[in-house]
Assembly symmetry: D2
Homo-oligomer: 350 residues x 4
């Protein structure tokens, strides 16, 4: 890479925004040139505006940057990473695309649009080419790329490996999700201390639909949704980072746990997504202990980009049961968006 690509973070003070700023520190291709946030913060130095909540320190580069408004006038970049709330993203992200910028978004606003890639590069890198169709349809030179909700992320990566090998027909998924998934301030401490909250608004619908798009076939400028049935229960538990999913799956062809384990362990990304700066190494780590993966012990596997799977065993009703863990603000949010941006660059689609 000759000179670094200028990038910006929208919604820079929130919890996902902070993770973007942390992960972009010393990025080999990207240089952060603008941090945008709401009016309340505009004009302040980042170190004053942000209530930093990560357990890794705020990078030096960000401390003295002055927050700008989240508008195309104030932000001059090639790529913008969006940690905006959905309602705001709906209005703002198209403006940035129209202004010629590539928007890599965490918001759910455009995930279901036919010409917007919903991307996990290790499993559906070819979907990135939807942006060509998108540019034609929308008549803009930028683009919008999305990553899925943080609970679908790890689950879908594991399912892809199994689907390629055996065909997946039905999936029961019950999540135990971390607090950082709700942003900051997010969940009140009195709601979660010594407690579980057995619902996360809107999440079950996402987990029951988004994997079908990601596991779908890219076909002539559009995606054919995968023909897989999903049933999801979503729960909030007292964990800071790391979403765990208990899954039971029905397969098209028989698979014993040992074979499935080998398939998961050996899964690799398409070559286009394999050697990018944020590529997970490995894509999937299989744990053999009887009680892993666990959020606190395993969430930072592969710098938080690896999907960790364990307890692969027969299901008495369907075929297989297993447990999946994924770091929700790294692989499932900011790290995923950065990985998407890297794919866009390496595919010459910027």
């Amino acid at each position: 890479m000759p000179s670094p690509i200028p990038v910006a973070v929208l919604g820079a003070t929130g919890s996902v925004g902070q993770r973007f700023i942390s992960l972009l520190d010393n990025h080999p291709w990207f240089k952060v040139v603008a941090l945008a946030a709401s009016d309340r913060s505009v004009g302040q130095k980042y170190s004053q505006a942000a209530r930093w909540i990560l357990d890794v320190p705020m990078p030096d580069y960000a401390k003295d940057m002055v927050i700008v408004p989240a508008s195309t006038d104030s932000v001059q970049a090639k790529i913008v990473f969006s940690a905006l709330h959905n309602e705001i993203a709906k209005d703002l992200e198209p403006q940035f695309a129209r202004a010629g910028m590539a928007v890599c978004s965490n918001a759910s606003s455009f995930r279901r649009d036919d010409d917007v890639p919903l991307l996990l590069p290790e499993i559906n890198a070819d979907h990135v080419h939807l942006v060509t169709q998108q540019r034609k349809n929308k008549n803009w030179s930028g683009c919008i790329l999305t990553n899925p909700n943080c609970t679908s992320t790890g689950l879908t990566i594991a399912l892809k490996a199994l689907d390629d090998a055996f065909g997946v027909k039905k999936v029961f998924a019950v999540s135990l999700q971390a607090l950082s998934g709700a942003g900051y301030p997010g969940v009140a401490s009195l709601d979660i201390m010594d407690n579980v909250i057995p619902n996360i608004k809107g999440e079950e619908e996402k987990v029951e639909w988004e994997p079908r798009k990601m596991l779908g076939k890219y076909n002539n400028g559009k995606i054919d949704l995968a023909d897989i049935q999903f049933s999801a229960h979503t729960n909030r538990v007292a964990v800071t980072d790391g979403h765990l999913v208990c899954a039971s799956v029905e397969l098209t062809s028989q698979a014993d746990p040992q074979t499935a384990e080998a398939i998961l362990r050996d899964f690799s990304a398409a070559s286009s997504a394999r050697e990018l700066p944020s590529s997970p190494r490995p894509v999937i780590q299989v744990r053999e202990e009887a009680d892993r993966p666990q959020p606190r012990l395993d969430r930072l596997t592969g710098n938080g980009m690896t999907t960790v799977v364990g307890r692969i065993r027969r299901d008495p009703i369907l075929d297989l049961k297993f447990v999946v863990l994924s770091h929700n603000t790294i692989r499932g949010a900011a790290g995923g968006s950065i990985y998407n941006a890297e794919l866009l660059v390496s595919e010459d689609l910027l």
Copy 2:
């Protein structure tokens, strides 16, 4: 009741033992005459021997009782409540039955025996009559009664209501279980802080089998196992008390969520189990909020004896999804055993 029935607690110092002692305080029928524990504690006053961990104070009656050995020589009672570990229970409980005492046990050692009732009086009170067969088979005048593991408890009660109304064919169950279920000291704090443990040794097998016995038909001195398939994932979470289960079920006849909700709400115990001192009032409470039941807020419903159900909704693969909560050391352990004993007494089987 003319004069109180003398009862004893075996394994009195542990976490379930403490719950027995707490729940038996001022019991209208029973009077605690002996507390038995391991050799290490024998001869000490209970208040010295027990490291009390409940958030309700130790009852006065227990403080000065002197711990005796868990042997039929040392314990003179009509009913013994057993909070013994399985390996010990296997040896000791038959000795007490042989000595003419009714053993109401939390241990899993005899749950699968054909002539041992596995009892939740609000749903299978008639199974108590297995003890007549048991006495014949074993040639003893006492008996052994068991209650199921704490995760099966609430789930099976909810399933019974649905099974009576619609027929249950398949059940997916994922548990989020409390720390007190592992006893004391049980789970190390470093293992559960900011974490989930996605396995509880031996628990999934129990959840996949025990409900089938409890939902089975009592028939001429034996139980025909219910023809229902179960698939279970069990998890430990950072909650002190209260096991939550996410369940998806397939039914024989169609049921919409509203009808199922009414069926659950209106479920009542057989008349023999309805008006006992520990009878749950109501048997099932249905919560209508989008995010209930929750362990901290709902576990003490009906003094911890009520099963709380919420989020009854359609399942995209099977028929219905819902969430069940049950207090694991009250309804799911000590309170359940006491309820069993009350049924035995009121049925004149003591």
Copy 3:
């Protein structure tokens, strides 16, 4: 008591408001006739307006009460319990006093006023007579009574016993405070999970001043502040209820730990405050274990009204060290206000 005294709760939906509603259920003297809250809630049934966060269920009497505005037009009561925020309390509470009602307040707005009692009936019941002076000064027929901040509460009760016996000169106090002290939603879960927050805004100033008023002498219509020096550090920890304080004290006359322990254990309230419905029984409980009091195990001692003290030992610099626990939303907030109201009634000052 012939007929119940009509009372109201201001700020009824918040965490302290909920505790008022819970503690006033079946109160022998008081009957709740109005629940007032902010405009957002007015007109709704209480069960709809309040997000109930206590682990005891919402009392039936409250469920269908319709929320009214917190104004003297809407509230017809003899006593109003105020769980209002300080800024609002500053304006509203005098209006209620002027309208002839006795305001028993948790807010800090008037605690420092010369003619407003800052009351812990078990230690300074005579201070209640300040209301006579207050009525004269303010020319109103109602009155304002306050209870101290929840951290000062237990500490000051323990200090009173020691001060009466030995004289207290200096006090170091370091608190470990519960989450419910910050209200709801209060502390964000991401701020307290696996963490301590070593500051609570404004709290140290209160702990360094309020005990001096409560330990002061009532003298001819005013209080002479006690001549005691305080130094406080305040911390928030991951506990739902129960404030713990580590204290080191310098005394005027020598006291060995055993004597101090006896003095604390035997402390009793003035006769006027000893037999009220909410009187703590005992006022102080001394725990002898090496590691008590503990919030989870001891906060409900005496229904949450008792102050629990432990680890009384020599201090290498001053005279004595000890640990104090008090339930912050019962004795330290709603329960304290109710106790204050009971004293006002029994002293014929209503």
Copy 4:
């Protein structure tokens, strides 16, 4: 450094042992040649014997090492890092010193011995020369070096800066200590969930004595204890790593908070301890926010070797109050021992 120095870890499977193994990964001077543990583990591969509890992965070098007995026959190294329990350390550590090895110990067994350095290189590097006296006294060629208990560590470092500048006379210290300080399994989850344990056995005595030795003057082969009075309360809180101490101090000469803050910020180690591989950079970080340091956010400052101080303000009784945070298993245990070993090497005392 020409060739790496062979080192061993005693007590390698425990929580401090794990931290040693993690911190010694890629150490520029040291190479781990032996891992020793109790008989139960001997002969197993480390990856099988250890239940790894750190949230950073087990280093590859350790996985296949076979556990050896903790005896001088089995361990051939120049330096042994001891994470042994005190009773075992008392017997074993002298054997290793006698066999010519330098024992860098976390145990408390020899901390009070006149000729054993109690070392925090950033504040008392010269104390390392006690080993010359020790070798003479004990007639052995190895040596024993100790680091203080984890609560004294950060406190003493902050006190040293203040003592050099203003003289310290009295110290009140109240700790809020992390769970990892108790080892594994250590504190039971039911003991700390929603709770605080207001005592840590033996800890207050250590905090009241150890700083006096470390702040003492090295004088002709012995240490004159510093003439400072300490009073300590120690508490266990629900935090995984990071001990927080609230301190109030009396000084010999007046100091305003701003000056003290500058003194703390500018404190640097003696030149002999300043540029070692594990030297904290900076020694002390001062946080200016009103609510820092916090364990989760600040414990990894300077890779866990930096002492973090905040809230420096006037004390109403003594002179200054402040809060200190130190990572208890890095700076306060394994990292501290490694730093000690580096000093020993660089001072040519190995």
